[in-house]
């Protein structure tokens, strides 16, 4: 006993020695704070008193190496008042000796009743059993926060119990607040990371805070303290590290207990932070966003802003501080696809921008979302759909007003439209004449994006039910009468649309708009087929939607009589000699129905052979039918039938292998155009008259002419009195067509005759080419002849020159004198430098021949027709539908515009000098023919020429820069076309005649024709030239310095009659013939006499 008592006192002594904070034991004295004390009680010595000793500072007990002796129970006490100031909570850690570990020890905490001053208010106290094993926790309610509370701990082991001394506490001194909540952080414009948190209960109490943070690189907690408002700034954090931050709090001063640590906050500092990170704004507004460079090596001066990867102009940047920049975005617009813009703040480095991947997001709150609503046919519900998909959470809201939408509205609160699926909602019941204002809202974390509202009136959005109870009947006049019933709702007037087509053939669908009537009469092509009919409806006056198409209605065919006429048909034979049989394919021409009530539903083919076999086959509405023909004679009859019977007027065909009579003498075809072929034939005079003709044709691809079965066979029946026929069909240029004419007699058919289509063009082309070849050959021959015999040519030319003394204008002129010649041709003022032609010079003759292909072609066509119809077909044939005959060969018949004439119809001649070693000869590509003993170039306004230098210039044409007045060179057609206009003006001074008229050339054949003319004509050859203008009445006056003004309106004959027979160089322009006259002379000759 004494040993245990000594042990307890020794323990208490040790505890006392270890105490740091003085603790006043009870006996009515207050306990200090924090209340952490050690209590040891001796349960064994019941007689002793006091049996319990209390000492402050629990840590001394925990560090005790010696366990209590037998019968002694020690408690390490830690008590506090909870954050609500409602309870005193104590944790009691139990220490017993090794021999007492099995003893059941019960501990309880008791708050003693207390009396409150003068009020005499008493409470009954509180008692709590401490639960737990080594550490027992118990809690008793506080009656008052401010007054002193007396507590007592009772310890019992079942056999004996002991109570601690009474301990008096002031609750506020033992307050342990709840840990801070909602710990978060944000960046400030100053570039600081600001922590903030809240408390569970709003309290006027100010706290002190203990903040700790750590990262994986720190390995220990960094601490900092704060006081006052719940918040603190963290500094010195590094970029790119994950930090854990916690905060706790306690009442200021020495009193109070630290709260637990708050929940950890994880902080990751990006290189750049944005303020704000998400911004919600309105369309068209200007917004400012800041960026903080957390990497202190980055400077705000080098900031570059990118809006959705597009650079923002630098004029919109602002430098806030060394590491903070801002940008102001102007007139913000919503994005269609993503719903928000992203903004990057980067560092300029040369031309590049170094960016961190985080960005700020800019949302535009008022977006455009297409909302469409539709009211059902019962007018009870409205379904609205929208097409936005960029928001995680979308809802449709609406406001409703009883007045129409146009009125001033005082709107009620918004209501959500019940969602029906992902992008639609449904409203019912409906207020048909109320104004609904609807919009869509999307939520995005901190903000809401709202679409522009739409204003709708349900009555304008009705989609009626489709019409029903359709019916239809055929009318005798190829029409179909259709009727239907309309839905009862909506009650306003409806318009209807009818669509109908031949069943199973939607490509031929027709749509007819019917106004307000519930019936329609529509035209049809064939009354003997089944039609599919559908109807839909819509509001007649005012907005609304078309209903769906009604269920299809199928017409029925009603016949009242059997068909009278059987189908016309023809056959195609295919021989199989090895099998000794012939395959016959019948081609039916299903005649148009004999009326809407007499339709052919099928065909019946009756066979009869020479051996007497008779059978028949029923077919549907087919177009072909095949069978094998093995007998000598096989007769088929085709009947048309429907449900009421078969036709009575039927055609039959007798197939026989006997020799057929030949009755057609000739048969020819000619393709007029791609849709018409002219056919003609003649019969032998003594042949019997056929009952009809059948023309059969088929097309074969030119590339596979070997395939004789390739073409599809077509046929047509022609009346017996026809000898010509225009076949209207689409003929393809890539195919070759063969036509067969069958004379059909009463019981048999005659010998067929074949013809291939004649397109006309190839033969015409060959003829034109041959003609061109001949002309070219003749030209070459003439050229060689002239080159070899210059002297003979000169002789020939001068022999033909008329005697000028016979001319009236040359009376009295002595041409033997050179001066006379010179004075005669001298230009009054300007052409002095160019010597005139002397009498020793050779003057050549050039005539142009222009052969025109169409004439040749016409002749060919006439020949073809004449061959077949012996000349009568051309007159007897009616014209084709397209009577315009396409030009077989493109040939320019007239000079056309003046430009064309100057550019492409250039021909020229040149003056030859005696002794010229060879002819210099140039020819344009467009020259159709040429034959000349020398070329002569002439302009109607320029006859000047520097003849001594002319030869050189012929070989070396002057450049365009040279002065045409001094070049005197007109051998080059190109030169004329380039400079003649200038020459006209410069040389004439009048500028009257600007058109170019070039001399023509004549072929040798034309020369021969000319030679056949009389002697008088030889002396008065015409001067031929072409005018570019169309109308001879408007032709310009010729301005020839030599001949003076000459009126081109004079006709050619007059010009020839009045023109003086010159043997000196003179240039004249003949009046161009009228278009009609020229057409007759397309192959004529234009001659020029010099």
């Amino acid at each position: 006993m004494s040993f245990s008592t000594m042990g307890m006192f020794l323990l208490c002594l040790i505890l006392a020695l270890h105490s740091v904070v003085g603790v006043t034991l009870s006996d009515g004295r207050l306990l200090g704070t924090p209340w952490a004390a050690a209590l040891c009680c001796d349960l064994a010595e019941q007689a002793r008193s006091p049996r319990c000793h209390i000492s402050p500072h629990s840590s001394s007990l925990a560090s005790l190496n010696h366990l209590p002796s037998r019968g002694v129970v020690c408690l390490n006490i830690l008590c506090w008042v909870d954050g609500n100031l409602e309870n005193v909570i104590c944790n009691l850690k139990l220490y017993v000796g090794l021999s007492d570990t099995s003893r059941p020890i019960a501990i309880s905490l008791q708050r003693l009743p207390s009396q409150f001053g003068s009020d005499n208010v008493t409470d009954s106290g509180a008692h709590s059993k401490c639960e737990g094993q080594d550490v027992r926790t118990c809690s008793v309610a506080l009656h008052s926060v401010n007054s002193t509370v007396s507590l007592m701990i009772s310890i019992s082991d079942g056999s004996s119990s002991v109570q601690s001394p009474v301990m008096d506490i002031v609750p506020l001194s033992f307050l342990k607040p709840d840990p801070p909540l909602n710990l978060q952080y944000h960046m400030t414009i100053e570039g600081e990371l600001r922590l903030s948190w809240t408390h569970a209960l709003p309290s006027a109490e100010r706290f002190v805070y203990d903040i700790r943070y750590s990262s994986s690189s720190l390995h220990s907690w960094m601490r900092m303290s704060a006081e006052g408002a719940p918040g603190a700034s963290l500094k010195g954090l590094s970029v790119g590290l994950n930090y854990t931050v916690q905060v706790r709090c306690k009442t200021p001063g020495n009193q109070g207990v630290w709260s637990d640590w708050s929940r950890p906050l994880y902080v990751y500092l990006n290189e750049v932070s944005y303020i704000p990170e998400r911004l919600f704004t309105s369309t068209g507004s200007n917004v400012t966003i800041y960026c903080i460079f957390n990497n202190r090596s980055h400077s705000a001066k080098n900031a570059v802003w990118w809006l959705s990867y597009q650079k923002v102009p630098e004029s919109q940047y602002t430098i806030i501080s060394d590491h903070v920049s801002s940008v102001t975005l102007l007139n913000v617009k919503p994005l269609k696809q993503r719903g928000y813009d992203i903004l990057h703040c980067c560092q300029r480095e040369g031309e590049k921008s170094l960016c961190s991947f985080p960005y700020a997001q800019i949302y535009v709150k008022d977006i455009s979302v297409a909302i469409s609503c539709e009211v059902d046919g019962d007018l009870t519900a409205m379904t609205c759909t929208w097409n936005t998909s960029q928001w995680a959470e979308v809802r449709c809201l609406y406001q409703r007003h009883m007045l129409p939408c146009e009125e001033e509205m005082e709107l009620p609160p918004a209501v959500e439209c019940p969602v029906l699926g992902a992008k639609s909602c449904r409203l019912e019941p409906l207020f048909l004449t109320s104004c609904y204002i609807m919009w869509v809202e999307g939520r995005e974390q901190e903000g809401t994006v709202k679409s522009h509202p739409i204003y709708i009136l349900p009555m304008d959005l009705v989609k009626p039910h489709p019409p029903f109870d359709l019916g239809a009947t055929f009318l005798p006049d190829a029409h179909l009468s259709i009727w239907w019933k309309r839905p009862e709702l909506p009650v306003y007037e409806l318009q209807f649309e009818v669509r109908y087509s031949v069943d199973k053939d939607d490509t031929l669908q027709k749509v007819i708009r019917s106004v307000s009537n519930q019936s329609a009469v529509v035209p049809i092509v064939d009354p003997c087929v089944v039609y599919t009919i559908q109807v839909r409806c819509k509001r007649l006056a005012g907005p609304g939607f078309w209903s769906d198409w009604s269920s299809p209605y199928y017409t029925t065919i009603n016949n009242i009589k059997a068909p009278e006429q059987g189908p016309d048909f023809w056959r195609v034979l295919q021989e199989y000699p090895k099998l000794n049989q012939t395959h016959v394919t019948l081609l039916f021409t299903l005649s148009q129905s004999e009326g809407p009530f007499c339709c052919v539903e099928g065909l019946t083919v009756k066979h009869q052979t020479s051996r007497g076999s008779v059978w028949s086959e029923n077919l549907g509405r087919v177009s072909t039918y095949s069978f094998s023909w093995t007998e000598d004679v096989h007769t088929v009859t085709v009947l048309a039938h429907n449900a009421l019977g078969s036709s009575t007027k039927n055609s039959n065909m007798t197939l026989t292998r006997h020799t057929k009579s030949q009755s057609v003498h000739s048969f020819s075809s000619m393709m007029v155009n791609s849709s018409c072929v002219a056919l003609s034939w003649t019969l032998f005079p003594n042949s019997s008259a056929p009952s009809s003709f059948v023309i059969q044709w088929s097309g074969q691809s030119r590339s596979r002419q070997q395939d004789k079965q390739g073409g599809r066979v077509k046929w047509v029946r022609v009346p017996p009195n026809n000898r010509a026929f225009h076949l209207h069909e689409t003929f393809f240029a890539s195919e070759e067509y063969q036509f067969i004419l069958y004379p059909i007699f009463e019981n048999t058919e005659g010998e067929p005759i074949y013809a291939k289509e004649d397109r006309g063009r190839p033969r015409g082309d060959h003829a034109a080419y041959m003609l061109l070849l001949i002309i070219t050959f003749l030209s070459v021959v003439l050229f060689v002849t002239l080159a070899v015999s210059q002297n003979q040519m000169r002789k020939l030319v001068w022999k033909d020159v008329p005697n000028p003394n016979n001319c009236s204008w040359a009376q009295g002129v002595d041409f033997r004198k050179a001066e006379t010649i010179e004075s005669l041709f001298r230009h009054p003022e300007r052409l002095i430098s160019c010597p005139l032609l002397l009498e020793s010079e050779t003057i050549s003759e050039a005539v142009i021949v222009e052969k025109t292909s169409p004439a040749v072609q016409n002749n060919e066509r006439d020949q073809v027709l004449g061959k077949a119809g012996q000349g009568e077909m051309a007159s007897s044939l009616p014209p084709c539908g397209n009577s315009e005959e396409p030009p077989v060969q493109e040939t320019s018949l007239s000079p056309g515009s003046p430009d064309d004439s100057a550019q492409s119809r250039i021909s020229y001649a040149m003056v030859l000098f005696p002794g010229t070693p060879g002819l210099l000869y140039k020819q344009q590509e467009s020259l159709s023919s040429s034959s000349d003993e020398g070329n002569f170039s002439a302009n109607n306004s320029d006859i000047s020429g520097s003849f001594p230098g002319g030869l050189w210039e012929l070989e070396n044409p002057p450049s365009n820069d040279s002065d045409p007045r001094h070049s005197c060179c007109y051998n080059s057609a190109e030169e004329f076309s380039d400079t003649s206009d200038q020459e006209d003006e410069v040389l004439d001074g009048t500028g009257a005649g600007k058109e170019l008229y070039y001399l023509g050339m004549t072929s040798q054949s034309e020369e021969e024709e000319d030679e056949k003319q009389g002697e008088d004509e030889e002396e008065e050859e015409e001067v031929g030239a072409r005018y570019p203008g169309e109308d001879a009445q408007e032709l310009p006056l010729e301005s020839s310095p030599l001949l003076g003004r000459w009126d081109p309106r004079l006709d050619r004959t007059d010009a020839a009659a009045k023109g003086p027979p010159l043997y000196v160089p003179q240039f004249r322009t003949a009046s161009r013939k009228s278009q009609q006259a020229k057409a007759k002379e397309r192959s004529g000759v234009e001659s020029l006499q010099v």
């Binding site: 990867y309 921008s353 170094l354 960016c355 961190s356 991947f357 985080p358 960005y359």
Partner: protein
């Protein structure tokens, strides 16, 4: 004698297709790789048409997303397979809308074909290791999926372009 020659010829004819069978299979797989890669390139181009990253923007902090240097030679089929695996991890963490899911499916397909090709060539293939850092990064920064997605697609496009160009010359594992 003639019978021996005929037998020899017959044997050669029978063995010829057997010998040609393996290269044909490899060629087919290579063709499939090219086909898939080119298809994915076209898809990426269409996907990034509206928001194409300016060539003047260089992003940092995305080093975990594979980025093949233009002048760097391929390490082999295993490296290609690993790269494709990383790309498919990135794509799987991006919002699937706007066609991203299809690109992800394409990369998965391509990854499968490349692994088959590597296996047929006898290359040792390791089971794709889970890239914990990459996944943690993607989870942490899912807010910034727009730029991460665009950068990843651009790098994937370059990766596939180089794959198409160099596949025929690729001989190492």
């Amino acid at each position: 004698m003639s019978g021996c020659v005929a037998l020899l010829c017959t044997s050669l004819l029978v063995l010829l297709p057997l010998g040609a069978g393996v290269p044909l299979s490899v060629e087919t797989m290579k063709s499939n790789v090219k086909l898939m890669a080119q298809t994915t390139i076209v898809r990426i181009q269409k996907l990034t048409e509206e928001f194409r990253i300016s060539p003047n923007m260089v992003f940092s902090g995305l080093e975990l997303i594979p980025d093949i240097a233009p002048d760097k030679a391929w390490e082999g089929l295993s490296a290609i397979a690993q790269g494709l695996h990383s790309f498919q991890v990135v794509l799987s963490h991006l919002p699937p809308g706007d066609g991203m899911a299809q690109v992800h499916a394409d990369v998965l397909s391509l990854h499968g074909v490349v692994r088959s090709l590597a296996a047929s060539l006898g290359c040792p293939l390791h089971k794709p290791a889970g890239d914990g850092r990459l996944e943690a990064f993607l989870k942490t920064n899912s807010t910034f999926h727009v730029t991460i997605g665009n950068v990843a697609l651009e790098r994937l496009r370059r990766f596939l372009g180089k794959l198409v160009q160099n596949l025929d010359q690729l001989k190492s594992c």
